[in-house]
């Protein structure tokens, strides 16, 4: 629960990531990204209930972090290498520029050096002359209104679309629970090999972490770079 309180301070995955790196007094490099991966995932595994609509955004970043990390830790993990992880590093640097600019902007606004336009004199003493739109009838009015209504569709769908995308993690967890109910032990390698794509790898990984947290499973690794055994508790 401690993480949940903390997460409320963050507006998105980049701010969280930046904060983690700065806490460790690190520069933005691939190595430091790799170092803060666990902390990032820890934050993430507690976020699902709170902000389901934002989980998708955090998952994108988690994916990249884990890919960076996994190359170092698990050499046997074969993932399509179409994603140069330098991107995340670069992207975070760009984000930081604007993050800092926003802080400067805030203090500038707080100086209250506001400028003002002129008060519209017509508003003070409005001289109203009836000027209806040309060639305009009831049907036009109806059509304009219908267009407005149609344009509302995507706005209503916004939150629900994001939620639909984040359901996956929950489903993965229940799937793993079912699988483990029939087997007592399984290998991480086998689990990963079943995955269709890197997103599923990440979701699987996150689901495992969540199950460890819930003390439903425990994981064991004999030596560095070896396969991980997953056991039901």
């Amino acid at each position: 629960m401690a993480y949940q309180v903390k997460l409320e301070q963050y507006e998105g995955p980049f701010e969280l990531l930046l904060n983690l790196i700065e806490q460790e007094k690190l520069k933005i490099t691939e190595i430091s990204l790799s170092k803060v991966t666990e902390q990032f995932i820890k934050h993430l595994s507690s976020v699902e209930e709170l902000y389901p609509e934002e989980l998708a955004d955090f998952l994108v970043v988690a994916t990249k972090l884990l890919l960076i990390k996994s190359r170092a830790l698990l050499p046997y993990l074969q993932v399509d290498d179409d994603e140069p992880e330098g991107n995340l590093e670069e992207q975070l640097k760009i984000y930081r520029e604007f993050h800092d600019a926003a802080i400067k902007m805030e203090s500038k606004i707080k100086e209250r050096n506001f400028t003002y336009g002129r008060v519209d004199s017509r508003y003070l003493a409005p001289e109203i002359i009836f000027t209806p739109p040309a060639d305009f009838d009831q049907g036009d009015l109806r059509n304009y209104y219908q267009d407005v209504l149609d344009s509302l569709e995507p706005i209503i769908k916004l939150p629900s679309a994001a939620i639909a995308k984040s359901v996956t993690l929950k489903e993965k967890i229940s799937h793993l629970q079912q699988t483990l109910a029939s087997k007592l032990e399984m290998s991480f390698k086998d689990l990963i090999n079943q995955a269709e794509n890197k997103t599923e790898v990440i979701v699987t990984f996150l689901a495992l972490l969540e199950l460890v947290k819930q003390e439903f499973i425990c994981v064991k690794q004999e030596n560095n770079f070896e396969d991980i055994k997953i056991q039901k508790i």
């Binding site: 519209d120 009836f130 739109p133 109806r142 304009y144 209104y145 407005v148 209504l149 706005i155 209503i156």
Partner: protein
């Protein structure tokens, strides 16, 4: 900073006559200082061939456009008033027709953009009128009788598909979903607008 500079900015913002006694108070200066600053500003407008001028009448001062520019100013105002309405304006007019009386906040939630200027424009053209809603304690907007007449309507209910479109569920959902997002800054802006017009 020079008094003349401050004087100019206040006269500009005000848009109407200001009494010199009031100006002295605002600028916190003496009679002679104000007089000198007014003379300086007035002379500047003349010598630099400005489009602006000061009109002084006894105790009152106002910033106006210079008399030489009256033709172009008149033309501009006429164009602005009779020019074609933009699509956002017509959409707003449609919302007010089907959903009026409606608050500015609700129109903005539906359209997703700030509507201050559009509403002002629709009012100047006599298509929309503002009145105070006693229950809500805020202004609400509705189309004018003249506009209804122009469309050949006795009642708004006669508009095509009125029943169906007036009670469109999507509207409720949008208003509900967005209501919680209103923030202080926005409300602050409104307060300033109101004050400016007092």
């Amino acid at each position: 900073m020079k008094l003349k500079q401050q004087l100019e900015s206040v006269l500009f913002v005000c848009s109407k006559f200001l009494k010199k006694s009031k100006l002295k108070e605002i600028l916190n200066c003496k009679e002679e200082e104000l007089k000198a600053a007014l003379a300086e500003l007035s002379k500047e407008y003349e010598t630099r061939e400005s489009g602006l001028a000061l009109m002084q009448d006894g105790d009152r001062v106002q910033m106006i456009t210079s008399p030489q520019c009256s033709e172009i100013v008149r033309q501009y105002i006429k164009d602005e008033r009779t020019g074609e309405l933009t699509r956002p304006s017509l959409e707003t007019l449609a919302i007010i027709s089907y959903r009026g009386p409606i608050t500015k906040a609700d129109i903005e939630m539906i359209r997703g953009v700030n509507c201050s200027l559009i509403l002002r424009n629709l009012m100047i053209r006599g298509l929309v009128a503002e009145r105070q809603d006693k229950k809500k304690g805020v202004p609400v907007y509705q189309v004018t009788f003249e506009f209804m007449q122009h469309l050949g309507l006795k009642e708004l209910k006669e508009l095509p598909d009125f029943e169906k479109l007036n009670r469109e569920l999507k509207l409720g959902e949008v208003l509900l979903a967005q209501n919680k997002n209103k923030e202080d800054f926005f409300q602050d802006l409104e307060k300033v607008e109101e004050k400016k017009h007092e």
